[in-house]
Symmetry: C2
């Protein structure tokens, strides 16, 4: 039953609603920042801008554009100011930029940022290795950034990484995630993104982490889930999150940032694979699956690689 | 949040049960038949036998070994008799062989088959193109095979392909699937496998098809689900099926039969990716994930390709 068939029908998701699902969800597109940050090939700013415009043309209404991080750390995003100047996206598009520190916030505000994201870790080892700090230290460092953004009238998204497992510490207690979530909210963040950075989560674990976080009085509609597909579990974890009432999910167009071939390939859920499920559930996203898949194929060609997205691959084969 | 991290912890599924899940699930391993049938590289019978032995050593207790199909149709499986002779798997292993017609059944019985599978289609076009028949004609052709196997005291599994979409007809009505399922049961099959041959299903569609089939008085524990990962939906559809009470799932070790690179790659859910979720849910399978992943890496090396399984890829990277 595995034969490849010459297709006449071009399959698309057929809506079969499941009770208890939200009528619509927000796709938080991380391709331009989180996706490109993980790509070795340096992408010209004009291509990044065109990519963002095509995403918006496809109906994407929330995009994380770039990070005002030091170019020393992430050369790929050294053009953050240029991209912001180059881009003139409609006001209706929610546009977020990462500001890892005070310097990043100053640059973001000067560049006309409309929403800022900060980044902390649920685990000490990742805080030490990736943020050169501690969990407490990362929260203290985030505090003035959050407060500065709030003072400037901007919403702030707080990312928490390693919410399900840590590559050095192993399993992560849901209470550790909830502790950090609670402190970020106390600092003034307006939304959270809980990241399964190493992709180990399964549905019961998702319910456990969400349960702890919501038990701290944090509203489910201010919590986004950010799953990685390292172990093939991302989409199922989205489904479990939907059943728990989550209405915002991080994904990257075409699975950008996830190498399709590398051993131990890690990275983001492909937006198209997510859309296939959501549209199949009759959950509206406002995104045109075909237009997005064409955009991802276009971007993959610019990157000189192939999209790891199953849907992008299958739809491209159907067009061929 | 997509950086590849140097891992010290070797991640494994952490059990977080979800209420309403079965305590255990049967993995119906289709790699040796359905997987190899789709592989271009001809595999020596000794390698196939060793592959099956390693599957059993890893704890796999249900395997579809081969198909007694005409070698003209599937050269890869021309060695069905030799494989059966070569193999001496323990009585405790459920061993199934496909018998596409009377001639196939005669060969299967002569080779000492213990369980037989037959194959029909839910759609007319696939019946015509793949079985050179009609839905009715395929059922009529299956009748003597089912009855002959039952008369020989063997259980019979009835595969139904194209249960969610047909590459020529498009969407398939759940009632068409239920009609065929009902007729197969009337013929005497002891279990069913409902196939999403082109991988288009989403969870609500799974509930719709299962609902129609179970409404015909067919017991859920006699229904297995066979999902393909063409659009990345297979594992989520398994999760939805689990929530509907299904306790048997078809998958292939390492995703054998699914080309990791080909445009429009189709094929089976990888058993390892399925095990990651099941073990993460605290659902027991009797299969050793690490031993199975090593077996799939070994087999991929024999095939001269790489496993498309995310879990096999990630665990191999962890061992390296």
């Amino acid at each position: 039953m595995s034969e490849t068939v010459e297709t006449i029908w071009q399959p698309r998701p057929q809506p079969f609603p499941v009770s208890g699902m939200p009528a619509s969800v927000r796709i938080y597109e991380v391709g331009p920042r989180d996706g490109l940050q993980a790509e070795a090939t340096l992408v010209p700013v004009e291509v990044k801008a065109e990519f963002c415009r095509r995403l918006v043309d496809a109906g994407v209404s929330t995009i994380e554009l770039t990070s005002f991080v030091s170019p020393k750390w992430i050369p790929q995003l050294a053009d953050a100011e240029q991209l912001m100047t180059e881009l003139a996206l409609p006001e209706t598009v929610r546009q977020v930029v990462l500001a890892p520190n005070q310097r990043g916030l100053d640059r973001a505000l000067a560049a006309g940022a409309r929403e800022v994201a900060v980044f902390v870790s649920a685990t000490e080892t990742f805080a030490a290795k990736n943020l050169n700090s501690t969990v407490r230290g990362a929260l203290d460092a985030a505090a003035p950034v959050v407060q500065g953004a709030v003072a400037a009238g901007l919403p702030v998204r707080g990312y928490i990484s390693m919410c399900f497992g840590d590559p050095w510490e192993g399993p992560v207690a849901p209470s550790m995630v909830a502790d950090v979530a609670e402190q970020l909210v106390a600092l003034g963040v307006t939304s959270l993104s809980l990241g399964d950075t190493i992709g180990v989560a399964t549905p019961g674990h998702v319910h456990a982490v969400l349960g702890e976080v919501l038990a701290r009085g944090i509203g489910v509609d201010s919590v986004a889930m950010h799953f990685h597909d390292t172990y093939g579990q991302a989409l199922t974890n989205v489904y479990a999150s939907l059943q728990a009432g989550v209405i915002e999910f991080d994904s990257s167009a075409g699975g950008l940032g996830r190498c399709p071939y590398a051993k131990g390939a890690t990275g983001n859920l492909a937006t198209e694979d997510l859309l296939w499920m959501l549209h199949g559930l009759g959950v509206s996203t406002g995104v045109d699956l075909d237009a997005l898949a064409r955009t991802s194929s276009w971007m993959a060609a610019r990157m000189g690689n192939e999209s790891p997205s199953a849907v992008v691959t299958a739809l491209a084969a159907g067009r061929a």
